[in-house]
Symmetry: C2
Subunit: 241 residues, 2 copies
């Protein structure tokens, strides 16, 4: 009888979900992971720089066990590589890798964007509108980090609205690997203009439920970023291809 009271149909009582005490097992490791990851993404460590375990222990104030597990995690994420006989270093990125990352992003993001254009509900469209408005407000300030965050939120909305959590996860990781590149890209002439413009194209296509146009705009958005990145990363390609 009690059973009936507390688990009536197993799905018709979502209220009970909210009762759940989501334990904050904010472990040392998780904090250290976030700190270190952000530090690397922010460029606090330069690519190729050695990450000496004991030094990190002092800097983060935790023991080596924690540091080592965090390094393993970041290694799997691609932010850290382990040089043989030398230990962990901040991963370097060359143009060959960066180009591949942009290619994967094109493959995944065009898919998500097209799907969103097909199936987006009103709430999603509203959310995208809000994000774009914020972006417009901020783009004038030319603050790279702010624009980056808004761009991320824009695509996150698109991915998650279609239930593509795994693809979004992949894209997030790839983006963290080219984070420096993305910031540099945004510092480039009028990228702070062309980026939001492309995103508005995508948005309009989604509003019209036009998957093809959305795909095209999305591809253009990423491809432009890739072009700028290439000019930054490949010395000979600064204007003359």
């Amino acid at each position: 009888m009690n059973q009936n009271l507390f688990a009536p149909t197993d799905e018709t009582v979502p209220n009970l979900e909210s009762l759940r005490i989501d334990t904050p097992p904010v472990t040392l490791r998780e904090m250290a992971l976030e700190r270190l990851r952000n530090a690397i993404i922010a460029g606090l460590f330069s690519p190729g720089q050695r990450l000496v375990e004991r030094t990190l222990c002092d800097q983060l104030g935790v023991s080596r066990s924690v540091i080592r597990e965090v390094l393993r995690h970041l290694e799997t994420e691609g932010l850290v590589e382990t040089a043989p006989k030398q230990g962990p270093i901040v991963a370097r990125i060359d143009w060959h890798q960066a180009r591949q990352i942009y290619d994967v992003r094109i493959a995944l993001e065009t898919t998500a964007v097209a799907d969103c254009a097909r199936n987006a509900d009103a709430a999603t469209k509203e959310k995208l509108k809000t994000v774009l408005e914020d972006l417009d407000r901020n783009s004038r300030k030319n603050d790279a980090l702010t624009i980056l965050a808004a761009t991320t939120e824009f695509y996150e909305t698109i991915f998650l609205s279609g239930g593509h959590e795994i693809a979004w996860d992949i894209v997030k990781r790839l983006n963290s690997r080219i984070s420096r590149l993305r910031v540099m890209t945004l510092s480039t002439t009028n990228r702070t203009v062309s980026g939001p413009a492309r995103m508005r194209e995508i948005f309009n296509a989604i509003l019209r439920n036009d998957p093809d146009a959305a795909t095209t705009a999305c591809r253009a958005h990423i491809e432009e970023a890739a072009q700028i990145a290439e000019s930054l990363l490949v010395p000979g390609k600064h204007g003359k291809p």
Copy 2:
């Protein structure tokens, strides 16, 4: 002068690469990682099963430090999840996730296959031919593991021939997450026939340098697998949708 001798143009002397003694720093951790990963993929541990650290220490004969770092690695790969207040367990996979994985594979593999159809050189085509012939020889034996390995090699050739190492890495990881599913899929009626057939379609399209046909065949290949997986994973979908 010595400098000129040993690093002439930095790229015109690939022979020096072969001189490199690739140190085999086959660390305990790497061995344990491979063992444990294979064990999970092979289904030695069932999904949801707890992975008690100290038990694994005994089973693998290493200390907890190693085990914990390996678990972190597998966690990032998606093969292991850490339940709060309970510790690491073998990741479960539901249909929602599996479907997403198939979707990502479609996005990445169609891209790679189309690119291969556009640019494949003779050596690549030859390699693919060999792989398919091996597959044909073995498919009659209906040995799921062998077929799986050949399928993997087929796609690996396609990805790597186009220089898509990162995308291939992603696909490999995703595949390990649905490994059980893939084996089950192959055990299904005539999947051991339809799979190779689709791969031959892809191969023929690549031979003809026909990216569109290759894309279509590749999508069909994965979509078929996804259909079978769905019928296995979703009880109500066994034949009547």
